[in-house]
């Protein structure tokens, strides 16, 4: 899990996932 510092009361987390032969950094922004 990758996390970024909380800004504007918003959390930002991410995971790098392989999709077939490519790599997607799936990033989710959610309210704190």
């Amino acid at each position: 899990l990758a996390t970024s510092s909380i800004k504007h009361n918003t959390l930002c987390v991410a995971s790098i996932v392989r999709y077939k032969r490519k790599y997607v950094t799936q990033i989710l922004y959610a309210p704190l």
């Binding site: 899990l1 996390t3 510092s5 959390l11 991410a14 995971s15 999709y19 989710l28 704190l32």
Partner: protein, 170 residues
């Protein structure tokens, strides 16, 4: 293609600096108080997991408390590895329309790492799904390719819940 016969160009009066100068030249009152949007491309700085400077046992205590408050369950930790938590978390979703049975127990591994003296890192790892009704998900016979269609969003959502719980408690 021969460049010279192209009449494609950028409209000079549409460039922000020129547009602003033209507007100010007209001396309109509102114009002077509107400043351009600073497109701060603040590069998102990423950390691995979440950092902690508390004592290791305190961190573990906080995590167990947060998991308990969130209704998650965990395997009893083994003596030789106190710093790893194997979590199983029922992911309640609003029942979808065709009521299909989907795996609803997410497994997660939470591990405490020491980076340097009093600098610790809590790492979260997705560890697959189980079904609370005992059925084993039949993804064993998928080919290599299919095996990689994985959506991290349910996992990311639960980690945000846990991070919020830890933030609120601390």
């Amino acid at each position: 293609s021969k460049e010279e016969d192209s009449t494609i160009s950028i409209l000079p009066t549409s460039l922000p600096q020129i547009h602003r100068a033209n507007m100010l030249a007209q001396g309109l009152p509102a114009a002077s108080k509107i400043s351009p949007l600073v497109n701060k491309k603040s590069k998102t700085r990423w950390h691995f997991g979440i950092r902690s400077r508390s004592y290791p046992l305190d961190v573990m205590g906080e995590i167990y408390m947060a998991l308990k408050n969130l209704g998650a369950e965990w395997a009893k930790p083994s003596e030789e590895d106190l710093w790893t938590i194997r979590v199983r978390w029922k992911y309640e979703v609003a029942q979808n329309k065709n009521n299909e049975k989907i795996p609803d127990l997410m497994k997660m591994i939470i591990q405490l790492f020491q980076i340097e003296t009093n600098n610790y890192l809590v790492d979260f790892k997705f560890d697959g799904w189980e079904s609370s009704y005992g059925e084993v998900s039949a993804n064993v016979n998928l080919s290599e390719d299919e095996m990689s269609t994985f959506s991290a969003y349910p996992f990311l959502h639960l980690t945000t819940r846990l991070i919020m719980e830890l933030a609120v408690n601390s």
